[in-house]
């Protein structure tokens, strides 16, 4: 059985010229212990999808569809029930760790606070667990650094603190939204190694959101490629990157490998997409049917011509 299933998810927001669709009928599945990479450019809706799983969408979002977590539809839960799941069974880490941490509290105290919110334990016990977790994520001298403030940590170390906070309850699913984009290349390598070893150890599933295909190639079992709110291709990562089916995936893979520089036209505003395939305005292979009808997902590729 799938740990997480997203079924026909539509998310839209009010815009200046009508509603803006951030997700068109998204369908995704993640199994226990699996790593699924969600890949796409800025503005394609990856973060919105992640926030919808966490139940953190803005009030004005209009949602249709279901998200099943362990068989349970998250949209049908009360706020109180969702709070028990958020942070404990499904956790999330973000791109800029410094802006996620409270600047006036010691980092260790923030991890301990997260522990006490979900479990009824003393400050002493929560402190010990926080220190143990800081050691597990590779923060040197965790006892001493427990009381240090976020500004005393480098980007890589702050991200380790976020990972500690997210994994302290060994969640079933971890969502990582561009966790290494803001980090230097050697630190990125360390953080990805750390994530890989911890999720293997805890058998945690990982939904890794990134615009960097090389990060996806490093981490993922499966991949889903998103464009303008729609999932255009998904499948086993090895297969998709070796032989991409959708023209957009082909362009991304060519740009990410050192085969030379590919040029396709600039992205279009979402509100201009009235009908047809999301990608037809930029697609080098677009035909008449592409402008009229939305393609269906077949064999992992969402394209009229594939």
């Amino acid at each position: 059985m799938n740990l997480l299933e997203i079924l026909n998810l539509d998310i839209s927001f009010p815009g200046r010229a009508g509603r803006v669709q951030a997700s068109y009928g998204a369908n995704l599945e993640i199994k226990q212990g699996e790593v699924l990479c969600l890949v796409g450019e800025s503005g394609c809706g990856k973060t919105i999808l992640a926030l919808s799983i966490m139940g953190l969408l803005p009030q004005n979002a209009r949602i249709n569809g279901k998200i099943l977590f362990n068989g349970q539809n998250l949209f049908s839960l009360q706020k109180k029930e969702m709070r028990k799941i958020r942070g404990r069974e499904i956790a999330m880490i973000f791109e800029q760790p410094a802006s996620c941490l409270n600047p006036v509290l010691g980092v260790g105290e923030q991890i301990a606070e997260a522990i006490r919110i979900h479990e009824n334990c003393s400050r002493k016990v929560s402190r010990k667990r926080a220190v143990d977790m800081m050691g597990l994520v590779g923060i040197p001298s965790p006892h001493r650094r427990y009381c240090q403030y976020p500004h005393e940590f480098s980007g890589g170390m702050a991200q380790r603190v976020m990972i500690a906070m997210a994994l302290v309850f060994r969640p079933l699913l971890l969502i990582a939204d561009e966790p290494t984009t803001a980090l230097d290349v050697t630190i990125q390598a360390q953080i990805l190694d750390l994530l890989e070893s911890l999720i293997t150890q805890f058998n945690t599933a990982l939904l890794l959101i990134t615009h960097d295909l090389c990060v996806a190639a490093r981490m993922g079992n499966r991949v889903a490629v998103m464009y303008a709110g729609g999932i255009v291709e998904k499948g086993q990562l090895n297969d998709v990157f070796k032989a991409p089916g959708h023209p957009y995936t082909q362009a991304l893979v060519k740009a990410a490998s050192n085969e030379g520089l590919v040029s396709i036209p600039e992205s279009t505003e979402l509100s201009l997409l009235n009908s047809g395939c999301w990608f037809h305005l930029r697609c080098p292979l677009a035909q008449e049917i592409c402008t009229q009808k939305m393609p269906k997902m077949q064999g992992g590729v969402c394209c009229h011509l594939c």
Binding site: A189, L213, C214, L252, A255, L261, S267
Partner: protein
Amino acid sequence: MNTRSGILAGQEGSVRSSSLKNRKGPCPNPASLSGSRDKVIQVKELKKYFTSGLFRKTLVRAVDGVSFEIGKGETLGLVGESGSGKSTVGRCILQLIQPTSGEIFFNGANLSKVNNGMSALRKNMQIIFQDTAGALNPRMKLYDLLLEPLTVHGLVNGNGTDRVAELMERVNLPLNLMERYPHELSGGQRQRIGIARAISLNPEFIVADEAAASLDLLIQAQMLNLLKNIQSAQGISYLFISHNLNIIRRIADRVAVMYLGRFVEVGKTEEIFNNPVHPYTQALLSAVLSIDPLAPQKNRLRGEIPNPLQSPAGCRFHPRCPQAESICSQVLPPPKKINDDHWAWCHK
């Protein structure tokens, strides 16, 4: 400065030092050009120290003695992680920050001795910034942003619509965006404005400071294509500053790798990527990820970049170096020639 936009960080005042007087004779300049190509930029022993702390007593050696040259139509890639000083080097060359010591020559003219003439020289030396939103005045339309450099340097009087349209075509910006504000444009479009502003004065030299860093993969590819085409058409020299080795490999003719304010390795791009000699360069290259999911994982560099306020003695890299010996913690390594146009600063 000729541009309102592009406010820079790090304006903490400079400390005049007498390091030039204490130098013992000229040092070899490994980053100098072989052959007789015209030298557009020559940098000699550039240093920039910032002061920090309550009484301004702590010294941050952001750039601690770098020398290099850039020829006409050439791209020198400057690679390094946070705190390496690469952005500071770019800004010192353009005199946006006053160097602490060292000499910078542009087409043979010593920039530290040019006082009132700097304004005229700026037509020939431009910069493209990383932060596409922060570099543009949010209250100016695209038309005004592109016209501004031309107006400031007196290259256009009255109606500049034709000049602006021509610039927009050169960088593939649709003409219907002329009346838009920066916040109404995508990151890629804003970066094109940055490039258009930089090339509008037909400069000979451009510093691209992490110009492609905040862009998506496909837009990055377009941007690099555009910069290469402009270079072929106009013979512009670039100093391309980036921490992204994949980008550097595609655009740079030669590469200089920086760590904590000093060069560690310099050479032709393919030579550096195929035959890195310095342990830091090797570590950087081994950390670069590949699109191939089956690529083997390589050895990782441990530890974090040290605080620039407490730079290690001797070779800056020795605390993290897997091959460090006792001499590395005591003496700065001299440059060693590996072959023509490939040098490394390492005791081994």
